[in-house]
Symmetry: C2
Subunit: 203 residues, 2 copies
Amino acid sequence: MSHRPFHHGNLRAVLLEQAEAVLRERGTDALSLRELAREAGVSHGAPRSHFPDRGALLDALAERGFLRLDEEIRRAAARVRDGRAEGGHAELLRAAASAYVGFAVREPALLDLMFATKADEPPEAVRDAAGRLFATMGGLMDAGVAAGAYPASDVARLTLLLSATVQGISALVTSRRITAARGEALVDDAVTLLLSGAAAAGR
Amino acid sequence: MSHRPFHHGNLRAVLLEQAEAVLRERGTDALSLRELAREAGVSHGAPRSHFPDRGALLDALAERGFLRLDEEIRRAAARVRDGRAEGGHAELLRAAASAYVGFAVREPALLDLMFATKADEPPEAVRDAAGRLFATMGGLMDAGVAAGAYPASDVARLTLLLSATVQGISALVTSRRITAARGEALVDDAVTLLLSGAAAAGR
DNA sequence: ACTAGAAAGTAGTCAATGACTACTTCCGGA
DNA sequence: TCCGGAAGTAGTCATTGACTACTTTCTAGT
């Protein structure tokens, strides 16, 4: 809070929003600090006070991406919970997984950025945001224990597995290996198989 | 004959090999056509006759990546088949999936390139190479039908699902979200669950 | 209220790069 | 043999990220 009116107003926020638009429309390669500065009406050196280098911008974008994705999954899950209290656990997972892939379709370049190869450990802010997403996924999976879908001891592994699978489906879609529709169908298959497999293994 | 010949002889191949090394050691961002030219001992414009622009180089690298990954998975599967004829279908899938993730660990930047977001359809050569990989995966999954693990009608979907899952696990590992060891464990879980889930659903 | 100083922004510079062009060298096939 | 095109050279240009020195603005401490 207390975002006082300084020179530009709130350059950092504006840069991030513009950057997200560029990412969406022209991809990561088209992201230029100088262009962002031009469009924001500031000098080419201005972004430097908010992002030491281009990598810092990308990190900030990745962090926001994780937060947004987390939020969208939460919302999708809440819709299912509110809508039909008896929708079933599978329905919940399907909605969350579908929201994930939907995000990937709408923001392919951003998702690429979020899961891009890191030589070093990712910055703490990004790591935290990513952790939040996985925590949310874990929370959803927890509900399956109460529903008797699998033992609590399996939740951690199953959460990771589901996360990996939706991320993989997203990668297949955004890299144009399969269509978005096929991706959606895969989400269904994935959830179905996860639940039936977990039940069978737990028996 | 005292000086090096005007024509390099096999510039294209050399550039690709050097590029793969750079990719491995310093990542995609560090890939510069001019640097490659320098190290190959040719003028900065020389690569242009083999790769119209930087994107063409990246496409060629992605194509080779798919071919290599396909080859490594084939080899891993062959090892299992040769070793113990009665190793079981699960063992085969585990070996293939493990080889996939192993490739990701050894060539993270290359895998990123292979599954990077595409605005347009990928070039035909890349598409073909990727298709070969998925065909290989499908071939492995076919073996499960004879073994009675799942009906033939499920092979296509299960292949896509397994491919997506190993790709997702790879993404989690290369983006440092989980360790390589945890990735390996996830591979086991994924194969186990895929088979038990498929069996349960088929019943 | 005043002022020191940090934060935010300006302007200029530099080396590197990708993408072009015009030109040269060399190879192989009709 | 010769001729056309592939491969390579050399020069140029705009753009970019990263840096530096400097100025303006806000704020915190007294």
